[in-house]
Symmetry: C2
Subunit: 202 residues, 2 copies
DNA sequence: GATTAAGTGTCTACTAGTTAGACACTTATG
DNA sequence: CATAAGTGTCTAACTAGTAGACACTTAATC
């Protein structure tokens, strides 16, 4: 079997990816509003024409970067790092670990959260995405069937998790993924809960 | 004036650069000897044919990565970060600062020093390059014309600097470039010296 | 307020870099 | 021993990327 074909669409994405990497670096260097299209193509060694083949302007380009990364984050939950993930036992649980490993893998991007003049929408949409994942992809079961308002509970735990993520990112990913996950679990333990992964089929 | 032309050779290097980045990442992930050509092109989203257009095999490719980075290191010394560099005064001096900033800028590559099954030749040639720079591009003048064996002296200070670099790299570049440079200077201060940059002429 | 300089967005014709695919060959893995 | 995976090489075909020019808009400078 000969599976060395990169589909055309995949190939087309290569240039986009390189341009995106350039944007990330340039935002860190000089701030989003100071970055020009010319800066981007120079940094990534492309012709300015090439940029306009792929994107109408800097704004839509930046939006594409943002949504592609946040969509990737959502999708990552369903792609377990540890195969055969089960309901939370006492150790690492697959679903939230996937979020963490996705962020770590793309830390170059998520470090943009540390910057002021950064990707428009990032500071707002990142926590919203975390919440969305908790709402749509996780279910919680109280231990002794103690009744809780699940909507509030999810919001509470999602933002708690977000707070820990923020700290992890701000400190330059000092602790390892594994250590970080354990921290998260330890803290979540203090709440009544039992986490289960839903998956895509309801 | 229209200066948006990337010269042909520059453009040709773009693909090479992307392949090199892929190699760096893959060495970190699975070790040099486990990396295949197929891994590299898959990671960088190129066709396998493309690789062989640029390089005869993985070995020469790896060599190209190594020498290009070390040559870049040598060349960086002559490209002052701070314009108008002078003889060492009491603050940052340009020549060694350039080495540091080059390493930091390319930390992705130099982090390979932290790995065991890494780029062949790196662990040997990196310190040799530091020494070469000290020998060829720096001159030292003893303060009160105290006689020293300059060959030994350069070797001694070069390897001292190398030791500090190693530590900086191993600890994930925790301290900033500026702080690191100051550390270096503080330590070098304990020796009889006055450092001067030679440059390319003579 | 006029004058540079730098960036934007669009469009063309061209080509060099990249691709798919097939080939025979060589390691590994079970 | 056999299956699977990777290597190195070559061709014909393509398309993604290029140079260059255009009119236009800002932003800074005198």
């Amino acid at each position: 079997m000969n599976n060395e074909q990169n589909t055309t669409s995949q190939r087309q994405n290569r240039t986009k990816d390189h341009l995106k990497q350039a944007l990330i670096e340039l935002i860190k260097e000089k701030g989003y509003h100071s970055v020009t299209v010319k800066n981007i193509v120079d940094y990534a060694s492309y012709n300015r024409s090439t940029f306009y083949i792929h994107y109408p302007d800097k704004i839509e380009f930046a939006e594409d970067l943002l949504v592609s990364m946040l969509q990737g984050l959502e999708a990552s939950v369903g792609k377990p790092y540890i195969p055969g993930h089960k309901v939370y036992t006492a150790k690492l649980n697959a679903p939230s670990f996937n979020i963490v490993s996705y962020i770590y893998k793309n830390r170059n991007f998520f470090e943009l959260l540390n910057y002021d003049d950064t990707l428009p929408g990032l500071h707002i949409q990142f926590p919203q995405t975390i919440l969305k994942i908790y709402k749509e992809q996780f279910i919680f079961e109280t231990i002794n069937n103690i009744p809780v308002n699940m909507d509030y509970f999810k919001r509470y735990t999602a933002y708690g998790f977000y707070g820990l993520l923020q700290n992890w990112i701000q400190n330059g990913f000092k602790v390892s993924q594994e250590e970080f996950i354990e921290e998260v679990i330890d803290l979540t333990k203090t709440h009544i809960y039992s986490l289960k992964y839903i998956g895509n089929n309801s």
